[in-house]
Amino acid sequence: MPELTIDGRAVQVPDGTNLILAARKLGIDVPHFCYHPGLTVVGSCRMCQVEIEMGGRKRMDLACANQAADGMVVRVNTPETIKARKGVLEFLLMNHPIDCPVCDDAGECKLQDYYMVHGLYQNRLDVPKWHKPKVYSVGPRVILDAERCVLCSRCVRFCDEIWGDRQLGIFGHGSEEVLINYPGKELDNPYSVNVVDLCPVGALLEKKFRFQRRVWYLKSVKSICPRCSRGCNIYLHVDQDHDYKQPGKRVFRVKPRYNPEVNRWWISDRGRNGFDFIDQNRVGVPRIQDEEVTWEEALGRAAELIRAGLKTWGPQGLGVLVAPSASNEDAFVARRLLRDLLKLEHVDFDVPSSDQPQADHLLLTDDPYPNRQGFRDLGFGPGEGGMRTADIVKAAQNGKIKGLIVAGTDLEGVLGDRAAGLAEKLGWLICVSYAGDALWQRAAVGLPMAVYAERPGTFTNFKGKVQKFEQALTPFGASQPQWLIWQRLAQKLGAKWSYEDERAVFKDLSQGKPAYDTLDWFATFGAGPGPYNDNWYMW
């Protein structure tokens, strides 16, 4: 463990730590463009120059390409290093369009930030600027403005080293040098939008986010990606306060959150494009048949139907399907109601999805649901002699199951037109849903559910890691968290228990289960202590 001095303060770091990370340990930011902890070091931007004194000799050198050594004295901010960085910035800005007012990256641009600190504020050039491709589509999800590019090659290295296919390159020479795709090749890998996070400037931008919101209006909330069973750590970027464009749109983008045990610095494009369901086709008012009613009325009616169903058809005549997109808290309370209280047998969570991810070597798994493992761990599933999903659906279609409760399932997506027919064959259908799909339209009782981003909770990923997501938004309309819907229904059906909030449910469900011990509800867990900030912008 070498001990060195950085800007007058001593610090001890592990062997092999470079000077950018060593300085970060002291809270000192060494300006840099091309360095990224997840990629190889190239030292091409020359922005991280610091003064290094070692064995009585002083030199200016790169912080990214030099490792901490015992007795090293490093000075990050001296008149000389600041002058050197000013020089680098002057070159970078020589042909930069300086179009920050119309650039989506304004506010989270390293060039802009460093210029505010080191700027010359006076252009010394009187020759025209070079022009390069603008508004150029490099791939289906990413757009390029090559004039803003600082040629740091982070995106090139991402495609090469992390994804494994050279889809981008830096071509040409001198001022004509340009980052672009090879003719006929597209930046279309399933992780392509990571290059937008990596881009320190506004050269590579996400098409989906382009001109949607100024970044300083966005609130950043720690969350978990619900689009496959990996459980990548993310930030949801939401804005509920500026309704001037696209009213009703609240979630604007997803950014990765560093977690060395799960997703490191990356997330998939599937995860990034998977938040539309939060703001589209939502339902917010409980219904009995076609009529909008209060929660009390709807829950009362649902309890009535269940009670009557149990009496006439018995537990064998009822079936329940809950999609494992619900949290552990939802699954736990659902289990207490459906299995423990009502003693239902045909209860399952292994529902199919119409939106199947394709597993690959990086992050994506082939499971479309974020919490299947959690449902398993909590013992949610059919009782003895109970049927699994396929059989429950079949039994519902041929009239053996007369009452069906579905929660968050995508039966319409899987069954297509047959979903509507399924509802017609049943005695009744109780639908707990966030979307106004075909099943919701035909439900005897419709109970609107808050999506995962509208309440806190936990998911268990396919490796058994329990991870918490925070509440990012207020629930849509009068919708309520799924666990609360089950709880209120349970109370109508005679249950004596009740939980105050998600935390209370989690406390109960995690009792005596080591898998949940590592998780502290109040901690801002995720990356944990380490050299890397979990905020994507700080890398």
């Binding site: 050279r166 020479h173 040098e177």
Partner: protein, 175 residues
């Protein structure tokens, strides 16, 4: 699909042997390709990439960086005029002006008869004898407009009867 001739292919394989990593042979192979095909087309890049087992993007990054690799079919006489500091101070721009005025071509262009093409070149390592230029592989130094006029006239006289321009071999060429 453009293919190296057997002889060139053998030469290339021998070259590759000399390097610890195949990708290190990109520049020598690009020279071979240019000798064989006259210029570095996308197909030529692909042929090099396949021999070296590297992504074609890497070959383009190298070929695009060096002006000595022609991105268009050059004329019979390819004028490569240095425009770095010493040459520029001693009149490289007037040389390029003469070419524009008398041959009607800019850097990267070829005369319609296919006889001359011109490229702004990076340093030719002849700062002491600036301004300098290459005509194909010959070095010419201490250039003046008169000296250039004489060189061009001499080439025009020497030129054999017109033969097919190398562009004719490539479908992707503009005229």
């Amino acid at each position: 699909m453009l293919q190296f001739s057997d002889a060139t292919r053998q030469q290339a394989l021998a070259l590759i042997e000399k390097y610890p990593r195949k990708s290190a042979a990109i520049i020598p192979l690009l020279h071979l390709a240019q000798k064989e095909f006259g210029w570095i087309s996308e197909e030529a890049e692909l042929a090099v990439a396949q021999l070296l087992d590297v992504p074609v993007v890497s070959v383009r990054e190298v070929s695009g960086f060096y002006f000595m690799f022609h991105k268009h079919p050059p004329g019979r006489y390819h004028l490569q005029v240095c425009h770095n500091i010493s040459c520029s101070l001693l009149g490289a721009e007037t040389i390029l002006d003469w070419i524009r005025e008398h041959l009607g071509i800019e850097s990267g262009q070829t005369t319609p008869d296919g006889l001359f093409s011109v490229e702004r070149m990076e340093c030719l390592a002849c700062c002491d004898r600036a301004p300098a230029m290459l005509i194909n592989d010959e070095l010419h130094v201490h250039l003046t407009r008169d000296k250039l006029a004489a060189l061009v006239e001499e080439r025009r006289r020497q030129a054999p009867p017109p033969e097919p321009h190398p562009t004719d071999n490539h479908e992707s060429m503009e005229t």
